[in-house]
Amino acid sequence: MDFQVVVLAGGNSKSLTPLVSKDVPKPLLPVANHPVLYYVLHQLEESNLKNLIVVVEGEDAGLLVGAWISGTFVDRLHVEIAAVPEDIGTAGALRAISHYLTAKDILAVSGDLVSDVSPGAVAATHRRHDAVVTATLCSVPISGSSELGSSGGKDKTKKPGRYNIIGLDPRKQFLVHIATGAEVEKDTRLQKHLLHAVGQMEIRSDLMDAHMYAFKRSVLQEVLDRKDTFQSLKQDVVPYLVQSQLKSQAVLSGIPQAEEDGNKKVSFPNNQVMVSQILANASTPSFHELYSMDPDGFAQTRKTHKCCAYIASSSSYCVRLNSIQAFMDINRDVTGEADHLLSDNVIGPSPKLGTKTTVGPHCMLGEGSEMGDKCQVKRSVIGRHCRIGSHVKVVNSVVMNHVTIGDGCIIQGSVICSNVQLQERVVLKDCQVGAGFVVTAGSEYKGESLARKEK
């Protein structure tokens, strides 16, 4: 279909420390015992997209991710890994691999997206309108689910006022305005001519940008080349394209093409015009076309491009793993309501359970984990090869692989990374414990982030 898929997997994420470390880059962060990248790749594979470019920040992370992918998706996907320097942003990453992009359109997917929105639908919308960029929007998850997952206070999501403002045309097909996060703090500016052309704009703040974009390659590359300060797709490139849609300077692949066509058949120049006119008249003109026309004539005088929006249906699941809160939510959802995201079975083979140990619904136990007597596990995910002693309570938590939990521990709303040792009678509430950390016996923590000091 002439689409190239780029998965922007990212690397280290500050918002996810201490869960993310050098050994566990963000793409490999396990969500319900699968690295988060798995969800994206799985989704793409389902859509029959087998040739992917995965961009990872940092050489080391690149190697790790590469190793994991080749182990997991061998013979299933054809993946190329590109490691880019850290902190160059999503736009920078695309810029770095720009010369590998050859297809007509590019589908850029964030690697931390856990969703069941079909990439095909986005691509189809993009094609249908011949858009320059198509952004996937989904309804914001109700993050009021704080009854349980109220994890650390360090979440950036908790900052008030961090939301998106998205303007749509009346038919909800085109993006008219997009402003995200920080920009929205005080006021937001709209362009008058844009409003004038659209006539009516619907402003939504309940939509979230899912970070799945389809770009027209030529335009994307041109923008990246010309605006080398652009760092982020979401904050720079897409808003730029949206704003300039009625006076696009870039772009314009449409127009040169038409000229080429015209040259080919010099014999019927007139007919060519008629053909295009018939075609143009056949469809309801979007505001772009109306704007680009002279007030009285048919000649296109102004260059425009289209920015489309694909709005995922409200029933589809779509969350980005960009905060610890989101991490908790996703873990809970994937084992619970959104369990269709995982193709394999939820309960690993033969975990060893002690007597009188109960594992509630919406739980996941990795293979080879052992639990002692009289344990309680509720709404939690426990990784592989964990050893859990007796009288342990695990509620609303995520326990990764190779964790040892001593007798009598109580863990609530916490994330325990791999290779952590919890000695006896530890009480953790809303904590994050970094990889390899050892919590001494009898200690109690609440709302803290524990990690080994980086040497």
């Binding site: 279909m1 079909s118 094609r127």
Partner: protein
């Protein structure tokens, strides 16, 4: 196809009055047919007699033309003449005839080229040949025709027809025949659903048989076509084509599935690419037509975007646009489809160990293109073959659509006089061109654009006309009887003209035509000849398109009008949105 054809031949001219019909003087209907006969089968004495009697016969000189197949040149001339002399009588509804022009073009552009000339004719002749016997009751002519021609005709016409509708045919790789068929089926269904288009307006309605007016028009068309066909035959070796044509005929899918036949529906479903949920409350009278839950097809097709890999993106895009109603109007759809095919051919490369002719035919299921591909000489290199095909497509667009529109416009403009009030219904590209051209010529006239819910296509037309400075009146179809008093002429577009003279157009066209008839206003139907089809249809019930029932319960821009919300699930309510 065969059985149908025979049936057609049997059909009596009187049959035309089934469905909506306007009282036409009986003599005319009888008189018309002979004309048709003549060109093909000049000799039969009785027919000629009738011909002379026929009132409209005067305009049709081609009647006297000698048997077509042999003298192509003469034919051409005569045909041109015949069509061109505008009748003094304003009443004549004319469907402007393209064919003569086409021939011209063909000869102009490609003097030496057999292929080209062959092609344009081949697609047409079907219409002519078949239309002749069928429409105008002359079984004789059919029988007498050299078998080769009649065969060809049938096949060809089918092709043409198919190209358009089947539209989103695809290039596929290595798919089994069944799969291919499935795709085709699916695409067709998709298209049908999407076809918001007016393509198929109420058929019965479409019988724009406004009394005498239409008849002459019909007469002219077929005759001109015939000429074409005959020419073709002459220029091309009959022998060559015959065999392939026959084969193709067998391939031709059944024109339309009857959706109340459960086993067939089941089968079709299995093959379909697009998942279709049947609507629950279907109107009893239209139960045999496909009607699907609206809104389920598009998302479904969209999610399959990457799974239909073998399909060329351009083809897929056109399919999407059809389905979503982004492209409307027969001409635009046809052009869009051919351009997609062109793209596909451009990007095509023959896989190793296969020949282009065989492989490409398997991937493209446009009958027109298959025909062209099959006729490519084996010796042609791949690039040459591709460029030939692309040229063929260009030529088709130029000759069958663009040129024919030009001819129609040229002729129709002569019917517009200063002070006229012209009425048009919906948005027809040809009619629009006529109006604009007349305006450019400085004629002073007024336009009444009649529109109907829910598509309101007339608004787009209105916008463009007003921008050009025409003075317009806009109204909905329910006011047509009031506005008709002022109108001096009605111009209508058509999706198709069937071989029995039935005009096929957007739903509501018949109302307009009949109201015009009641007010004694002449009606002119403008239809390109590539839209002619050999099928015979007696009413609009046997084949029609059902749109989204929700569309009629909503009022655009008035969201507070929601009295019918949620009524779709009521057992005893059936909404009917004929398209």
């Amino acid at each position: 196809m065969d059985p149908r054809r025979t049936a057609r031949t049997v059909s009596d001219p009187k049959v035309r009055q089934v469905g909506f019909f306007t009282p036409a003087p009986p003599e005319r209907s009888i008189s018309d047919p002979p004309r048709f006969q003549d060109p093909i089968q000049p000799p039969s004495p009785s027919s000629t007699q009738v011909n002379d009697q026929s009132p409209s016969g005067n305009s049709l000189s081609p009647v006297m033309i000698p048997p077509a197949h042999h003298h192509s040149d003469n034919f051409l001339r005569t045909a041109l003449q015949a069509t061109s002399p505008p009748k003094a009588f304003s009443y004549s509804a004319k469907t402007v005839t393209i064919p003569p022009e086409n021939e011209d073009v063909a000869s102009l552009f490609s003097p030496g080229r057999k292929v080209v000339s062959a092609k344009s004719p081949s697609s047409f002749p079907g219409v002519k040949a078949s239309s002749v016997p069928a429409s105008e009751l002359t079984t004789v002519s059919v029988v007498n025709l050299p078998p080769g021609i009649s065969e060809k005709a049938g096949g060809a016409s089918v092709e043409v027809q198919n190209d358009r509708p089947v539209s989103a045919k695809t290039l596929k790789e290595k798919t089994s025949k069944a799969e291919r068929r499935a795709l085709q089926e699916a695409q067709r269904a998709a298209k049908a659903a999407a076809k918001a288009e007016g393509t198929k307006a109420s058929s019965a309605a479409s019988k724009v048989v406004t009394s005498a007016n239409t008849k002459p028009s019909k007469a002219t068309k077929p005759s001109s076509q015939k000429n074409d066909g005959s020419q073709v035959a002459a220029s091309e070796k009959k022998g060559d084509d015959r065999a392939p044509e026959k084969d193709r005929k067998k391939d031709a899918p059944h024109p339309r599935m009857q959706y109340d036949d459960k086993s067939r529906v089941e089968k079709a479903k299995k093959r379909a690419v697009v998942k279709q949920t049947e609507a629950r409350n279907r109107v009893e009278l239209f139960r045999h037509l496909p009607q699907y839950e609206h809104g389920t097809q598009l998302p479904d097709l969209e999610t399959k975007f990457f799974e239909l890999d073998p399909m060329h993106p351009a083809v897929y895009k056109v399919g999407l646009q059809y389905l979503s109603g982004d492209i409307r109007g027969g001409n635009a759809r046809c052009i869009a489809m051919f351009q997609a095919f062109k793209e596909a051919i451009k990007d095509y490369s023959t896989p190793p160990e296969k020949t282009l002719i065989r492989d490409l035919t398997a991937r493209i299921s446009s009958y027109f293109l298959k025909n062209r591909i099959a006729k490519l000489p084996l010796a042609l290199s791949e690039s040459e073959a591709k460029s030939t095909l692309m040229l063929d497509i260009d030529r088709f667009i130029n000759e069958k659509i663009i040129l024919s529109e030009k001819v129609i416009v040229k002729h129709a403009v002569t019917k517009i006089r200063d002070g006229d009030v012209l009425l048009t219904y919906g948005a027809s590209s040809v009619v629009e061109m006529i109006l604009l051209h007349a305006h450019e010529l400085g004629k002073h006239f007024r336009v009444v654009v009649v529109d109907s819910r829910p598509k309101l296509e007339g608004q787009l037309l209105l916008r463009r006309l007003v921008r050009k400075g025409l003075s317009c009146t806009y109204t909905h179809v329910n006011a047509v009887s009031c506005i008709m008093q002022d109108v001096t002429r009605v111009f209508l577009g058509a999706s198709s003209v069937l071989s029995n003279g039935t005009v096929y157009s957007r739903v509501g066209t018949a109302c307009v035509a009949m109201v015009a008839h009641a007010f004694c206003v002449p009606v002119l139907v403008c239809c390109e000849a590539y839209k002619f089809h050999e099928r015979v249809q007696l009413d609009s019930i046997c084949f029609n398109e059902l749109g989204n029932p929700d569309a009629i319960s909503k009022v655009q821009g008035r969201e507070e009008i929601n009295y019918l919300d949620g009524f779709v699930n009521q057992e005893n309510l059936q909404l009917l949105n004929l398209m």
